[in-house]
C-alpha cells in the first residue's frame, strides 16, 4: 500500500523565476494579511483608542504633572520629554504584536493559515506591517498633542521627521521580538503580562524621562547600554540639535541588529510550530 512520493524539483533554469515569484507571493500574502489585521483593528476601536489615548495621557501627565518638578539644564522639559514619550509609545506598541498573534493562535486562524499554500513569512510580516501602520498613526497623533502642549522641536521639521523615522524603525524591530512570544502563548492577556515588565525596565532605565546622570552608577551602566536609551539619545540629538551622526548610527545599529535576530527567531518559531 505504500506510495512513492515523487517531488517535482524545479530545473536550474527555472530557479530564478521560481525565486522571484516566491518573493512576489510573499509580498502579496503579507499585504493581504496586513490588510486583514488593519481592518480587524479598525473594527475593534476600543483597542485602537486605548493605543492612542494612553500615550496622549502620558504626554499630558509628564508635561503638566511631573514637568514642573523636573528641570533639565539647557532645554525646555517638553522638548526633552517628547523623544522619550515617542520611544515609550512604540515600545509598548510592540506588545500589541504579541497580543495580536496570541489571539490568532487562540482563535485557530493560525492553524488555518498554516494549512494554506500561502507564503510562510506572511503571517508575521502582515502582523508587523499592520502594527507599523498603527504606530505611524499613534505617533502622528502624539506629535499633534505634543505641539498643543508646547513642544516646539527646536531643530526644525527635518530633524523631527528623521527622529520619528528612527522611532518607527525601532518599533518595527521590537515587534519581531514580541512576535516570537505571541506565537508561543495562546492567551493574549498572558502574552501582555509577560511583555510589559520588560518594556518598563527598558524605558525607565533609559534617559526617556530623566537624564541618565541622575541614576546610580550601576543602573546607569545598564540604562545607557540598551536600545531605548540609544533611540532617545539619537532622537534628542536630531530634535534638539547637536552632534547627531554618532547617536543615530548607534540607534540604527540596535534596530537593524534587533530586526535580524528577532526575525530569525520569529520565523524559526513559526516554522517549528506543530513539532
Amino acid at each position: 500500500m505504500s506510495t512513492i512520493a515523487i517531488t517535482p524539483r524545479p530545473v536550474a533554469a527555472g530557479r530564478v523565476a521560481a525565486a522571484s515569484s516566491a518573493v512576489a507571493s510573499a509580498l502579496s500574502d503579507t499585504a493581504d494579511v496586513a490588510w486583514r489585521n488593519l481592518l480587524t483593528q479598525l473594527r475593534t476601536p476600543q483597542a485602537l483608542v486605548f493605543a492612542t489615548v494612553q500615550p496622549v495621557i502620558f504626554v499630558l501627565l509628564f508635561r503638566y504633572a511631573f514637568g514642573g518638578a523636573i528641570h533639565v539644564p539647557g532645554t525646555n522639559y517638553v522638548d526633552f520629554l517628547m523623544p522619550g514619550i515617542f520611544a515609550q509609545t512604540v515600545a509598548f506598541g510592540a506588545v500589541g504584536t504579541a497580543v495580536g498573534l496570541s489571539g490568532d493562535l487562540r482563535t485557530g486562524i493560525l492553524v488555518r493559515f498554516r494549512t494554506l499554500p500561502m507564503s510562510r513569512i506572511a503571517v508575521l510580516g502582515g502582523r508587523t506591517v499592520a502594527d507599523l501602520a498603527r504606530n505611524l498613526l499613534v505617533v502622528a497623533v502624539m506629535t499633534g498633542v505634543g505641539f498643543a502642549a508646547g513642544f516646539r522641536s527646536p531643530h526644525g521639521a527635518g530633524g523631527l521627521l528623521a527622529a520619528l523615522g528612527l522611532v518607527v524603525a525601532f518599533g518595527y524591530a521590537l515587534s519581531w521580538g514580541f512576535a516570537s512570544l505571541g506565537l508561543r502563548v495562546s492567551d493574549p492577556e498572558a502574552a501582555q503580562a509577560a511583555a510589559v515588565p520588560l518594556i518598563f525596565l527598558l524605558v525607565f532605565t533609559s534617559a526617556a524621562f530623566v537624564p541618565a546622570t541622575a541614576m546610580p552608577g550601576w543602573l546607569q551602566a545598564f540604562g545607557t547600554h540598551q536600545p531605548v536609551d540609544a533611540l532617545v539619545n539619537a532622537e534628542r540629538a536630531l530634535i534638539l540639535g547637536g552632534q547627531a551622526a554618532h547617536d543615530v548610527l548607534i540607534s540604527l545599529a540596535w534596530s537593524g541588529g534587533m530586526l535580524v535576530v528577532f526575525a530569525f527567531f520569529a520565523v524559526r518559531t513559526y516554522a517549528r510550530m506543530g513539532r
Binding site: M1, S2, T7, R36, F113, R114
Partner: protein
C-alpha cells in the same frame, strides 16, 4: 500514485507525557468519505492536524495525494482544505471578506477569489449575511462559512474536524447535504465526528479510534453486521425483575446488558433467536412489559469497542 488519496502508516504523536497517537494507520480511497469516529481525546484532531500539515508526527509517515505531509507539505497544502473545530474564520471580517482573503491566500488569484467567494456564499446559503461581520453570525452560519473557506481552491482532499459539533439539527442536516454534494463531485473527504449517526449517514468507510489506535474499521454496514444482526430490547418495568432476567439469560448462555429496568441482548443469527431468549426467561423472571427488535446502530458498535466490550 496509488488509488488512496490519504494514507497513514504508524503515526505516533505525543504531547509531553500524553500519547495522542499510538501507531495509527489508515487509508482513504480517492473520491470516498472516511468517517473517523472516536470519543474526546482519542486522537481524531491530532490525526487531522498531521494529515493537514499543521502538526508533525513523532514517527510514522503519511501521504495525501501521494505527497508526503512532512517532506512535501507545501505541495500538500495546494490540494487540501481544512475546516473544523480548530480552524477558524475571522470574527472581525465579514463573511465575504473572509472568503476573499482565504481565496487569495489559497493562490486562486484575486479575480477568481471574488468569483469563488460569491459562489460559495451562495451555495452555503450565506448570501444575505455576506456583508455582515462574522462575530454576529450564529454558530451554524459560522460553521458553514468555515467549511466554505476550506473549499475556495477546490481541494481534492477535504478534512472536516467535527464539523457539526454543537450545531442544531437543521444546520447539521444542511452540512450533511454539502458533504454529500462534495463527495459526489469527486472530493475525498475525511470527517471526524463523535456522532455515529453522522458517520453512518455520510461515510463510505468508518475507522473507529480509541486511545490513539484504530479499534475497528469497515463500512457502516460491515461494522453493524460484525456486531450482530439484531438487538432485542426487553423492558421489565423495574430493576428487580430486570435483575432476575439478567441472571436467567446469563445462565442460558446469552450476554445480556442491563440498563435500569431494561435488558438488551445482541443476536448474531437474527430475529428467530428471540424465541430462545423468551424461553430462557420462562418461569425464571417476570414477563417483559414490552419487547422491541431493532437493527444495531453505530452506537452499539462504538460502545462495545470503546468500553473494551466484546464484539459478537
Amino acid at each position: 500514485m496509488s488509488e488512496a488519496a490519504i494514507e497513514a502508516h504508524g503515526l505516533r504523536k505525543a504531547f509531553g507525557d500524553v500519547l495522542a497517537l499510538d501507531g495509527l494507520s489508515l487509508a482513504v480511497p480517492a473520491g470516498s468519505v472516511l468517517g473517523l469516529l472516536g470519543p474526546n481525546g482519542s486522537g481524531k484532531t491530532t490525526t487531522v492536524s498531521i494529515l493537514a500539515t499543521s502538526l508533525r508526527p513523532d514517527a510514522g509517515r503519511a501521504t495525501v495525494g501521494g505527497l508526503d505531509v512532512v517532506q512535501d507539505a507545501a505541495q500538500v497544502r495546494r490540494i487540501i482544505g481544512l475546516a473544523g473545530q480548530f480552524a477558524a474564520v475571522d470574527p472581525n471580517l465579514t463573511g465575504r471578506e473572509n472568503l476573499r482573503l482565504i481565496g487569495r491566500l489559497s493562490r486562486v488569484g484575486r479575480a477568481q477569489a471574488r468569483v469563488r467567494a460569491d459562489e460559495l456564499l451562495d451555495s452555503f446559503g450565506l448570501n444575505a449575511a455576506a456583508g455582515r461581520l462574522v462575530r454576529g453570525y450564529s454558530g451554524g452560519m459560522r460553521r458553514r462559512l468555515d467549511v466554505a473557506a476550506a473549499l475556495l481552491h477546490r481541494p481534492a482532499v477535504l478534512f472536516l474536524d467535527e464539523p457539526t459539533t454543537g450545531l442544531d439539527p437543521e444546520s447539521r442536516f444542511a452540512l450533511w447535504d454539502s458533504v454529500r454534494d462534495l463527495a459526489r463531485s469527486g472530493t475525498t473527504v475525511l470527517l471526524t465526528t463523535q456522532y455515529l449517526e453522522e458517520a453512518d449517514a455520510l461515510a463510505d468507510q468508518v475507522v473507529i479510534i480509541s486511545a490513539g489506535r484504530v479499534a475497528d474499521t469497515g463500512t457502516p454496514a460491515e461494522l453493524k453486521a460484525r456486531f450482530g444482526s439484531m438487538v432485542f430490547h426487553l423492558d421489565f418495568g423495574g430493576q428487580e425483575a430486570a435483575a432476575a432476567a439478567e441472571t436467567a439469560l446469563s445462565r442460558a448462555g446469552y450476554r445480556p446488558q442491563r440498563d435500569g429496568g431494561g435488558i438488551q441482548v445482541r443476536s448474531a443469527t437474527g430475529s428467530g433467536e428471540l424465541t430462545g431468549v423468551l424461553r430462557a426467561l420462562d418461569g425464571r423472571a417476570p414477563d417483559p412489559v414490552s419487547v422491541a427488535v431493532r437493527e444495531p446502530t453505530m452506537d452499539d458498535v462504538f460502545l462495545s469497542l470503546t468500553r473494551g466490550g466484546e464484539a459478537a
